[in-house]
Symmetry: C2
DNA sequence: CTAGTATTCAAGTAATCGATTAAAGACTTG
DNA sequence: CAAGTCTTTAATCGATTACTTGAATACTAG
């Protein structure tokens, strides 16, 4: 944006309008990077240190830190210090709404997105995912459903569905015996573009379980105003 | 984004995730420019030709066209041809939601935005704006309110509040006599970051009218599911 | 205070972006 | 089909972006 700074400096009416809309654009600019969006998607599940974010997104620590500065400058995330490490989190629920709105529009209007989603998440679900409403109804009726949170244990601790048990995807294979074969297993993770639950359901189905995926993840559940349980916070 | 294209080309799991989130980012990228956001804001009020958009945003026609291609490539706008000219419009209501969400987050978290908004729109309203709910209540009660749409006549024709009369800002000064002095005048335009209604209210107040601004514009009214009247379409 | 860990900053480089200008396309009208 | 209008494309150039590497900063523990 070559002239942007020049035009923004003006103070007449057009210049003021330009400057105002450039400011809105700066926010979009902060979201205009796939790695930053991955970071936002992870942070929607709870705060993280720079190092963990870097590990989860496959970025170098320095690079992750730089991305976090970009998000911080526009107010999308905030941080708190705990001893030598720094935890980042989304500024508030509206930031998550924005990310959800963005990906929703992208998914609706861009064929590329659903193709790439299939490529990443695996082919379409063999079974329809369970909707939030359906899950709630079945839980209330006392039907036989087991809800499994397959995210890392830390995220389960930061907040999870009330009836859920925690079996991180990495541990699922060796903890299959903890799951009942006479009930349906419903797995969830970080959201519709997180691969954990997809993988978990495939693994469970191959092992002979009746398993389905919750339509989306914990952040969406929380955003829908449904109850979430958090465990006692760990401070280093 | 130097490596983006390389990484996107991979087909392993990380590469697939990278490609997927890069695709989301492409949408944000399209919004990451102040001029394109101005275009979106105008288009929320109805379709426009390239030439008109260029005039309204102060861009050259070629430049406006290029921005429109960017928006079109990601599916934010679509176009229809009418003889020699081409009309662009927002793809659907969700695109407007996204823009609104973006500017809402920006306004909430960034002090710069409200400063720049004041600089562009003039100091804070001397009177609180009228909320949609309040206006509806007063209209239903038959209280004395006159609603004025101060946008260009074309936009009024494309859709307006049922009780509104059209007096484009440019004509307001010489059409003051059409407005009653014993009623309150409520002016609206394109939205909270459009200067028309602000200017109209200042002009009216200086001319001795009781005038206030509707809290935001027609697109938000429509998005709230409230009734909108459109006049017969003009085809070239 | 020193060593150690976590995070941020700074410099360098390849890729991308945005505006201008000029030329080419697309369609209508005579 | 030729002239005219509206729109798009191509080429160019300065500015910005993202990642890497290496060094600086901030804090804790001993």
């Amino acid at each position: 944006m070559p002239q942007a700074s020049e035009r923004s400096r003006q103070s007449d009416s057009r210049g003021a309008k330009t400057a105002l809309f450039d400011e809105f654009a700066r926010l979009a600019q902060a979201l205009a990077n796939g790695r930053r969006l991955e970071i936002v998607d992870v942070l929607a599940n709870g705060e993280r240190t720079v190092e963990r974010l870097a590990a989860e997104t496959g970025l170098s620590v320095a690079n992750a830190s730089q991305h976090l500065q970009v998000l911080r400058e526009v107010g999308l995330v905030r941080r708190r210090r705990d001893g030598t490490r720094i935890y980042y989190e989304l500024r508030d629920a509206e930031v998550f709404d924005l990310w959800r709105n963005l990906r929703s529009v992208a998914a609706q209007h861009r064929a590329e997105v659903s193709q790439l989603a299939d490529a990443y998440l695996g082919a379409r679900d063999s079974l329809e995912p369970v909707t939030r409403v359906e899950l709630l109804r079945r839980l209330k009726r006392g039907e036989d459903v087991v809800v499994v949170d397959v995210r890392p244990a830390e995220e389960f601790a930061a907040g999870h569905l009330p009836p859920a048990i925690s079996i991180p995807l990495a541990e699922l294979r060796r903890r299959l015996r903890e799951l009942p074969r006479d009930k349906e297993v419903v797995a969830y993770c970080r959201g519709p573009y997180c691969a954990f639950a997809h993988k978990a359901v495939r693994m469970l189905q191959q092992a002979g379980f009746r398993a389905r995926r919750l339509e989306d993840g914990l952040p969406e559940w929380k955003a829908a105003g449904l109850p979430v349980i958090a465990m006692a916070q760990r401070r280093s």
